[in-house]
């Protein structure tokens, strides 16, 4: 049960959040890519080990999407978003 730092609600239980995958994959220009590239973008979600910047959504909370840096091996949270109000 990870403890995740929402910029609005501070530390909350993992069960309040929805995982949104690693950041850094830009949506390609749909008019400039071949079929295969588009399918790869949709289906080949990177799943790296170690420190990863990833998106989380406070679904059962304030609704904010934000980015944390988490070590996917140790679950250490290396970076959390700045507090907002």
């Amino acid at each position: 049960m990870l403890l995740i730092n929402c910029p609005f609600c501070k530390e909350r239980n993992e069960t309040e959040f929805v995982y949104g995958g690693p950041v850094g994959v830009d949506r390609p220009d749909p008019n400039a890519v071949a079929d295969q590239e588009w399918v790869d973008f949709l289906t080949l979600v990177p799943n790296p080990t170690g420190p990863v910047f990833e998106k989380w959504w406070h679904a059962r909370g304030c609704g904010e999407w934000f980015v944390i840096c988490r070590d996917t091996v140790t679950h250490e949270i290396l970076e959390s978003p700045d507090e907002k109000s």
Partner: protein, 1006 residues
């Protein structure tokens, strides 16, 4: 025999006697007894049968590690199966039954499995039940199902209640022995907020039984003083009867508290599940004694040496008149001495070690106990309980030297620290070469959110077996934790326990060393699941090298005790057979819960109406009182129809449809999702969200829109109304409001975060009431309109207006999902019931009737309108449904556009929407049935060429109608398709236009 002694018993109160029933026999115990101690006091040595061979089983242990003594307690709504007798408190009037036997415990027909045990080796189930395939379903599975499982599931609803409890603490200490108490007292003095929990109903753990000395007094006195002074402090919570079930990431710990013993016949709060977030946790869970593996070690009367001691000291119960001790270490000598001092016979101590220390042997021999060094048990004699032991040399193959009569065998194979909680969240183990046990590797602790250790282990759980070291480790570990939490080094007066050194243990994984195969096949490792030394050796021979594979192949450690007694012996035998070291074989994974916990505790208060709260519209209660037949729609309940007296559901649906099409119907459409999208970039945003263009929609107008996923598949649909230049109201399906709102937010926040758009889910702020049918306009006008022009020109089809009806502020949309003249009227949710009532009153002369979801579905199918979830299933693109007109060709981009451009999305073979008319108009095709083309594929399966997505009897057309997705369907008009039924017959239906009724739309354009 086992019996109650006339004196002794630290935990019992002899002045309070308790009567209980065991398998129909009336027995007596005392206040403070566990069920196990009470049974032993009554010479009830046999308490159950094993899982596979139905062998007689006795009580082995005294605590939570007990594998055999599982009981059914209570009855009716208080029935609890699989209760461990060793951890279940006795109460007056308790009703207990043993399990896993038929017809009786004493005479069990299943025991015949034991006679054929050589036909049930490791992996028996895997090897035997593979072929022939049909036999699994009709022969093997029913028999195995009958034989499998322990205990009976309760038939009545559990009448008790359970609850969750949340707590945040600085330090959680698990285990209330001397190490845990030492840690608690230091931490409390340092001002930390502490929770200390103990699974037993008394503090002190083993120190209570193994009378130790701390400073100048006894261990028991020290424990009493510690608990007393802690009880006066405000910053500590002391809880007994609380078992730590699991440790999870970032200091999250699940604890199970037993609140009552179940003696109350009425409903009561029975258990509590604690969810604790601790900054740091100290695990001081002690150790579990290991059994020794020798032939016949599963006979009732063979027990752990520590358990024999526990029953004697804590409950005044002797487990046998003549107890033989079998050991490989010094600890079991304590049992011999205590038994002898209690006036019981201890004929001999069989010690596998070649020698014992002079002081110990002197002490024991002065009591008249014989020590047989270098010896082992060849076999235990007796059939349903111990009658004697045959002794052999440990070095040999089991040749019997002498036989000693006895009625109890107390065995000790050394101790294993309880490392479960350390391991749950990633703590690593190391092999202690001196004490032959796995203990926590403190250099690889489970890590918390900050990447540093969140949990440590103290005392015996940390591998210290002597009280002096246990207590000092408790202080040392708390010091480290206090420093980590407060940043200050605390001043702690470390009190000392006094204990001498013990001689080294000899590793013995089975005895004798060269035991024959015959002996090994009677030598049990896992008592509950019937796994023997020979089974693990066979698995190794057959190539199972990984301990995880061997576990599953042999079922070693897979019983409800999760291998607390059997694991280490089992993997030592495996490592022996594979000729690799024990640490190289490794352990199986420890997973929560440490002990089984009840489903009731896991469910907590999430039962009955609280299991999943129902969303209710403002009209819910009226519907409930007026014949509404409920069906679940997402989290809502909607009426399938409104049934009248003497009417079938089918008749009700048909009446509602006919009346709506000829007079007027009223529908509670409040469950429809309503999302407000507002901002300078709202139009641009909706152009991306919808497949059609929304930016050119005029203020005051509505447009039907489609939403797709990035994969191109149709995800939701609904009517969009442009409220002003920069604001839109997007209607979603009833099940889609939260999902679509989330979808919009995800795109806005993660992709187009710089666009100026806000979204707001208004679903529950507004109720929506549809007034539908040829007389709809007259009805609303009768209600009295203010500021509204309902004429065809004033409010044309796909327009909306704002104003007042019957004095209630409304937004009225002229949209239709039935093909009739139709108005959907949004009113503030709190005004909805009033509006509904007024509409029914004004509608009386127009014969208005409420209608339900089934009438809605049939009417939309008559018009060929698709329904998300019927015509779509996540693989359907709008083009498949003939909705090309709602997909913009001009837009550069929208969500789903690129995916829809992929070549296979344009394939001619895609299944597309058509209508179907059965040849026999009275036959309604089953929903979801498939059309076949008569050809077969390479597997001999008929080729499927389409499937029915919606199917109804249409009272309007007086015939059955269906919508279907058929391969290249629109180009196959009038073709007759075959739909095989489950009974082998075939229904024939002709392909037709999906719009069955009023294709020109003259009914709605009035």
């Amino acid at each position: 025999m086992s019996s109650r002694l006339s004196t002794g018993g630290k935990l019992i109160d002899r002045s309070l006697s308790k009567e209980f029933m065991f398998n129909g026999r009336r027995l007596k115990g005392f206040e403070g007894d566990t069920l196990a101690s009470a049974l032993l006091a009554n010479d009830q040595v046999m308490v159950g049968r094993s899982f596979k061979y139905h062998r007689p089983r006795g009580i082995v242990a005294s605590g939570s590690e007990e594998p055999n003594a599982l009981m059914e307690t209570g009855s009716g709504s208080k029935l609890e199966p699989n209760q461990r007798a060793t951890t279940t408190k006795l109460f007056d009037g308790m009703r207990v039954k043993s399990q896993n036997h038929w017809p009786t415990l004493e005479f069990d027909l299943g025991a015949i499995n034991s006679t054929f045990s050589k036909f049930f080796p490791a992996g028996f189930y895997y090897k035997t039940f593979i072929h022939p395939r049909f036999a699994w379903k009709y022969l093997f599975e029913p028999i195995i199902r009958k034989a499998a499982g322990l205990g009976n599931a309760p038939k009545e609803k559990d009448c008790d209640t359970y609850e969750y409890f949340y707590a945040h603490v600085d330090l959680l200490i698990i285990g209330g022995g001397i190490a845990g108490l030492a840690a608690a007292s230091s931490a409390v003095k340092s001002g930390l907020k502490v929770l200390i929990v103990e699974q037993n109903d008394y503090w002190g753990g083993r120190a209570i039984v193994d009378e130790i000395n701390i400073e100048n007094g006894s261990g028991s006195d020290w424990i009493y003083q510690q608990v007393k002074s802690l009880s006066n402090e405000k910053n500590v919570n002391l809880r007994l009867n609380m078992m730590a079930a699991g440790v999870y990431d970032h200091g999250y710990v699940l604890l199970h508290e037993t609140l009552t013993d179940g003696s109350n016949k009425k409903m009561e709060l029975r258990q509590r599940l604690w969810r604790v977030r601790a900054k740091q946790t100290i695990v001081a869970t002690g150790a579990i004694e290991r059994p020794l593996a020798f032939a016949g070690n599963d006979l009732p009367g063979v027990m752990l040496a520590s358990a024999v001691r526990d029953y004697l000291v804590n409950f005044g119960v002797s487990c046998g008149d003549r107890t033989v001790i079998v050991t490989n270490n010094d600890d079991a000598y304590r049992t011999a001495i205590l038994m002898k001092n209690a006036g019981l016979e201890v004929p001999c101590i069989i010690d596998a070690r070649p020698s014992v220390s002079e002081s110990l042997s002197k002490q024991v021999q002065s009591l008249g106990i014989k020590i047989l060094t270098g010896k082992a048990v060849s076999t235990v004699t007796g059939s349903k309980r111990v009658e004697g032991v045959a002794i052999c040399s440990h070095a040999g193959s089991g040749e019997v030297l002498e036989t000693v009569a006895c009625d109890c065998v107390a065995m000790s194979g050394g101790w294993s620290p309880v490392v479960h909680l350390w391991s749950h969240c990633g703590g690593k183990l190391e092999w202690d070469k001196k004490n032959y046990m796995f203990k926590p590797d403190l250099t690889s602790a489970p890590l918390g959110a900050n990447g540093e250790g969140m949990l440590t282990v103290a005392g015996t759980a940390n591998g210290f077996l002597i009280s002096r070291d246990v207590l000092s480790d408790g202080y040392t570990k708390s010091k480290e934790i206090i420093k980590a939490l407060t940043g200050k080094v605390p001043k702690i007066s470390m009190e000392k326990a006094h204990s001498g050194d013990e001689s080294e243990i000899l590793p013995v994984w089975f005895m004798p060393q060269g035991a024959t195969r015959k002996l090994k096949s009677k030598t049990w490792l896992d008592f509950q699941n019937d796994v023997k030394v020979s089974d693990v050796e066979l698995a190794a021979q057959e190539g199972f090298e990984s301990v995880e594979h061997t576990k599953r192949y042999t079922t070693l450690g897979m019983a409800t005790d999760q291998g607390k007694l059997s694991n280490i012996n089992g993997l030592a035998v495996l490592s022996n057979s594979l000729n690799v070291s024990i640490p190289d074989v490794g352990t199986t994974t420890f997973r929560p819960p440490f002990q089984p916990i009840s489903l009731g505790a896991i469910a907590g208060e999430a039962r009955h109406e609280l299991f999943k709260p129902i969303r209710k519209t403002s009209i819910h209660n009226w519907i409930n009182a007026n014949g509404g037949v409920w069906e679940p729609v997402a989290d809502w309940r909607r009426p399938f129809c409104f049934q009248r007296n003497g009417e079938s559901i089918k008749e009700a649906v048909e009446r509602e449809i006919v009346n709506t099409r000829t007079n007027c119907g009223i529908l509670d459409a409040s469950t429809l999702g309503k999302i407000l999208v507002k901002g300078p970039d709202a139009a641009r945003f909706l152009d991306m969200i919808y497949t059609n263009v929304m930016s050119n929609l005029k203020v005051g107008k509505c447009r039907y829109g489609l939403m797709c996923s990035e994969n191109g598949f149709l995800s939701d649909d609904g009517v969009v109304a442009r409220l002003s230049d920069d604001s839109y109201l997007c209607h979603t399906t009833s099940g889609g409001s939260d999902r679509i709102h989330a979808h919009m937010e995800e795109w806005l926040q993660t992709e187009w975060w710089d666009w100026k758009v806000y979204t707001l889910n208004l679903t529950e702020q507004f109720s929506q009431i549809a007034i539908v049918g040829p007389k709809a306009r007259q009805l609303i006008e009768k209600m009295g309109v203010d500021g509204l022009d309902l004429s065809p020109e004033g409010l044309p089809f796909m327009g909306f207006s704002e104003g007042f009806i019957a004095g209630i502020s409304v937004r009225i949309f002229r949209i239709s999902f039935s093909g009739e003249l139709s108005y959907e009227i949004a009113v503030p949710a709190l005004k909805a019931q009033e509006f509904w009532d007024l509409a029914l009153i004004s509608g009386e002369e127009f014969e208005v009737m409420p209608y339900g979801t089934e009438a809605l579905h049939v009417m939309r199918a008559e018009k060929g309108f698709i329904m998300i979830g019927d015509e779509t299933d996540g693989t359907v693109i709008p083009q498949d449904l003939g909705l090309d007109w709602a997909i913009s060709k001009k837009k550069e981009d929208f969500i789903g556009k690129r995916a829809q451009m992929r070549s296979f999305m344009k394939s001619e073979n895609r299944w597309k929407l058509v209508g179907l008319k059965t040849i026999d108009p009275s036959v309604v095709l089953p929903d979801g049935c498939y059309a076949v083309d008569g050809e077969s594929n390479s597997y001999g399966h008929k080729n499927m060429i389409g499937r029915v997505t919606s199917s109804y009897f249409s009272p309007t057309l007086e015939r059955s109608i269906a919508l279907a997705l058929v391969e290249n369907g629109p180009d196959r008009m009038n073709e007759i398709l075959n739909f095989p039924n489950l009974d082998g017959s075939v229904t024939k239906a002709a392909i037709c236009d999906p719009v069955f009724f009023d294709k020109e739309g003259k009914n709605q354009n009035v």
